[in-house]
């Protein structure tokens, strides 16, 4: 999660999010350059002592300040499209998990090998132990093996929800009657929190998602335990 007063992105937990962070840096740099130029122009024009009363138009500069922004925009558009298409690549996932949104909790099904299903409700604020994260902790975490491509199929049972976590860079809408697919990979172990990102009723802010990426042996332990408990 973000530390208090954090205004930038959280660290990336997947290669795709890393790409997005770099793209964001690149775009912000372009914006910074443009803003500096505009600010400089405003200041020099405001503080100029003399006024040219006879300037009506100038075709040359009009051409320049049309062509130049078009070029700058291609510099932004091409990396953006690259990442867009990168997102759509399916990379032979090792595991498929279905995440279904309900009012107001998520349910996960791991049906590749054994039928493993569980619900994940938010831990209410009054039930938190000191140090736990308010509105982010869930009673069950979606555990995945680290460094394995995972296919997530996202849908909803009742109304629109959205399965989103900033660190792996995932946001997939959960639409009733539709299966949306995304593939992602956790680059390092850890717990990645996310929150429902499509308004879905009274407790829309209170249905978080917690993904826990663990090494494969730990994952296998966990699945065995979960299946025993079921």
């Amino acid at each position: 999660m973000a530390h208090p007063t954090q205004s930038g992105f959280q660290d990336a937990a997947s290669p795709l999010m890393e790409e997005l962070l770099h793209f964001h840096d690149h775009t912000l740099m372009v914006i910074l350059m443009i803003s500096t130029l505009v600010l400089y122009t405003i200041i020099t024009m405001t503080l100029a002592k003399l006024t040219d009363m006879l300037v009506l138009d100038s075709q040359e500069i009009e051409v320049i300040w049309t062509i130049l922004p078009a070029i700058v925009l291609t510099f932004i558009a091409l990396p953006s499209l690259r990442i867009l298409y990168l997102m759509d690549e399916v990379s032979d996932p090792h595991l498929t998990i279905k995440a279904t949104g309900h009012q107001w909790y998520w349910s996960y099904e791991y049906s590749d090998y054994e039928n493993l299903e569980f619900d994940a409700y938010m831990i209410p604020t009054q039930d938190l132990t000191p140090g736990q994260f308010r509105l982010l902790e869930a009673d069950h975490r979606m555990v995945i093996p680290v460094e394995s491509p995972i296919r997530a199929l996202v849908s909803a049972e009742d109304v629109l929800h959205s399965w989103a976590h900033p660190r792996p860079g995932i946001k997939v809408d959960a639409i009733p009657g539709r299966l949306n697919q995304t593939t992602f990979m956790a680059s390092h172990p850890g717990v990645f929190f996310g929150q429902c990102s499509e308004i879905c009723g009274a407790n829309h802010s209170f249905m978080p998602i917690a993904i826990e990426a663990v090494p494969l042996p730990h994952f296998e332990n966990w699945t065995s335990l979960m299946i025993e408990d079921a």
């Binding site: 959280q10 736990q132 717990v191």
Partner: protein, 176 residues
Amino acid sequence: MLHLTTGRVGSLLAQRVTAALTSSSVRMASHGHEVAANEDLSQPMYWDSTNVPLPDRRYKVTLSSEDERLKQKEKGPWDQLSKEEKLALYRLSFSQTFSEMNQPSAEWKTVVGTIFIFLGLTGLIVWWQKVYVFPKPPRTFDDEWQAKQLQRMLEMRMNPIEGISSKWDYEKGQWK
């Protein structure tokens, strides 16, 4: 229904006749297309402006006899005019000099002062809100909880690359 009634015929004819007699093409055709005159019918004005420095008229319109004498002297060689006379002649023609026109005013003090007053008022309202309106924040905002939360974030290695966990030295148990 589009019936050609008498009324409609009448109005159509009237429109045709009016156009034939008064339209701009008719008027243009009735004489040569030279412009008779470009008359500027505005009244001569005086102004002080750095953009348009030469106004329509002299500043002092009615001249005293002393001024008339100066004006006559101006018609001769200018190096015979003293500095005071040159300045007096300038003041006959213009109200302000360029440096007087460009003088800054004290307006900025009013503007900045008003900004601060409004900021202060806003601050007062914000403080009053905090004391009398807002409910108590959840227990997770207590200092003790925040400290435990930060501890937990570090233990869980959250944001370990460039974020918070990367700023903590795990071996020494202190911030880097």
